[in-house]
Symmetry: C2
Subunit: 406 residues, 2 copies
């Protein structure tokens, strides 16, 4: 059961076509391949995992995206097998799928980007995936039903699909941003790969689109953590079909567009945490008053990744000591504990180097019962801030991740 997960309804983005099928990569017969196509004239931007052991499709997708300077025409996604730790053969297979699909769609091979999520260390089932390509191409559809099917098709142990939209009006013209994400789940997969595909009808340059994506990812997918681990396959794409209003980063209306992209990515990133493996709480860590954003993020992640904090959250135990420990262990230069304040939701818990004079265990336990909890830390050093989002650490997390893959 996801924690308080409710996303605004989604609208189709004009020009995007989608198709989903069960090719047989997953042994259980669930849908495991999704195809997105974009009209000629579209531009795309992408950010990918920083993991040194990045998967073969990540290598190929980055190459193709750069070679075409973002003039991408198709995204091909499979679940059930990550094509990671598969050496040169893995790259050859992923590139081969791009080539085969490009022939079917009559586009350039490097206009097709591959994505995979699933078991690591096994070669992709090449033949059954190639066989599925004509089926996928024949099933392309632009209806909202096709969007919903795609959002389900990229799921692994996600318990719900994650699809949402934001429509804004700029200079009297409507612009839509629609995206889907998956992550924090595994069936046969070995890790919680995060994938996100976001589309807009705005007419923008590839450079502006890339900037918008980088800013939005920093405050969303780069501000969440379930278990501190970074997958080999993480990717987030932002694609513009350029069938709607023209926007430029130099225009007055741009900031509205940026905010819409930010909002959709934040909702999709938070949705991953709300549906995280075994999650019973959604935790926002707001860090304010930092000498730098880097300091704030370090403290935010120090708290959000602490197993002791996360188990206390699971138990609704107002264990203030663990919060202090997690702030202090980060080793922020010049941090003075006597200047630090900590709130949980609206309850002041720590100031002047001591528990707050009004604080009681009863008040602390009461506030920790919420399923949405905000920990607010003020470092008392400067004016920078950040927010980090995470879930608690429950018995179900261990159960899900300790299950045999076989």
């Amino acid at each position: 059961m996801p924690v308080n997960l409710s996303l605004p309804a989604a609208s189709a983005v004009s020009g995007v076509q989608l198709s989903t099928c069960a090719a047989g990569i997953k042994a259980n017969g669930q849908e495991d391949m999704v195809l997105f196509t974009l009209p000629e004239g579209s531009v795309s931007a992408g950010v990918f995992t920083q993991n040194t052991f990045c998967a073969a499709p990540v290598t190929v997708a980055k190459e193709h995206l750069n070679a075409q300077q973002g003039r991408v025409r198709a995204l091909l996604v499979n679940s059930g097998n990550a094509n990671a730790g598969t050496g040169q053969q893995g790259i050859t297979t992923a590139a081969g799928h791009c080539q085969a699909l490009a022939q079917t769609l009559n586009v350039g091979t490097d206009q097709v980007l591959p994505f995979s999520t699933g078991v690591i260390g096994e070669q992709l089932p090449d033949a059954i995936m190639k066989n599925a390509l004509p089926t996928l191409a024949a099933g392309l559809d632009s209806s909202i039903t096709a969007w919903e099917a795609a959002a389900r098709g990229i799921m692994t142990t996600d318990t719900v699909p994650k699809l949402t939209s934001k429509t804004i009006t700029i200079n009297g013209q409507s612009v839509t941003v629609t995206g889907m994400s998956k992550g924090a789940g595994m069936i046969e997969p070995n890790m919680a790969t995060m994938l996100a595909y976001v589309f807009t009808d705005a007419t923008v340059s590839q450079q502006d689109l890339h900037t918008a994506l980088t800013i939005a990812v920093d405050g969303s997918f780069n501000s969440i953590t379930v278990d501190s681990d970074t997958s080999t396959n993480d990717a987030c794409m932002l694609c513009a079909t350029c069938m709607g209003p023209a926007l430029s980063a130099d225009d007055a209306g741009w900031s509205e567009f940026q905010m819409a992209v930010n909002e959709v990515l934040l909702l999709l990133a938070q949705a991953i945490v709300r549906d995280a493996e075994g999650a019973t709480k959604f935790i926002t860590v707001d860090v304010l008053g930092g000498a730098s954003t880097q300091d704030c993020k370090a403290v935010g992640y120090g708290i959000a990744n602490s197993p002791l904090v996360k188990t206390a959250m699971f138990a609704s135990d107002a264990n203030v000591g663990r919060l202090l420990m997690a702030i202090g262990k980060v080793g922020i230069d010049q941090l003075d504990p006597y200047q630090v304040t900590v709130h949980v939701n609206d309850l002041p818990v720590f100031e002047h180097g001591l528990l707050h004079s009004d604080y009681t265990e009863e008040k602390g336990s009461a506030v920790m019962q919420s399923s949405d909890i905000t920990v607010r830390v003020h470092l008392g050093m400067g004016s920078n801030s950040c927010a980090v989002y995470t879930s608690d650490l429950s018995h179900d997390y261990v159960t899900i991740n300790a299950e045999y893959r076989t």
Copy 2:
């Protein structure tokens, strides 16, 4: 149940006296205060938590140790209350206990070092602790029974006391190193504070002793992790009574002494991991072939702290993908996945960017059944190496840490 925990028997160190009592800090009536005294002429060295929110006794102990240049005469330890997050009052209380004990023992106030472990954010029960001091002083004893009582007295949820010795012969003369540790446990305490007290009869300078301690801690207490969290109260003391053979870091025999100190600290540090909360596996991560020791430690801790690796270990699941993910997420500059090799115990699992050609799931699962598992990663970049020790992540870890303190 600790994992394969069996320590060589301990011998008393001449000159050290010990006393243990139940003062009433813990509600359950268990022993909660321990006193160690050292003869005149002793020297001591200490290393303490780097946590910015370090506890009041840590502040006082560091001040006293420096003021006396290591001429410490008594260590006063309490469990049940960490005296952390207690502001200026906490420091006054800890310093007051040193003063009271110094009067009883007829030594300088700054020759007494205080240590606490337990609940954070509550003031120490000052009166009952002061009342216990004469009792402690009256009970001082140098027998091995007193050592065993002290090793039990510093325990929190440790399931067994951790006490061991190493005796070596240098130039025909016997030198003993005996130590005890506690950690990775909690009853009322809020975190797994690590405390270690190690004693030797060698006659050494404070400077040489400090160097020996720093080297030994780096390979032991600074090479273990249970949950990536650093307590506010961690401390490790090395005290020399100077009643045995004279040793100097310039002497040929010094390296034997250093190795004995290393060995005792390593056994005590590993014992904490073997008795870690919920542990069912003891995991050694050996990282070789690094361009620097720092790179090796980063990879070692990347693996050892990964919840996905630790849950796979709990499940005896040879999830090679999670190991690759954990190596890659560290972001080692210039690391080439095609040069990396990974073994689990003696089984080769990964090389040339691929699963090893002889590797099978069956072989992987078989080797993961062991309760002592060594993951050996060769980075293929240089000649540096390190070892990191950790435990798995089990249901019991969540249960223990999610329990209400009340």
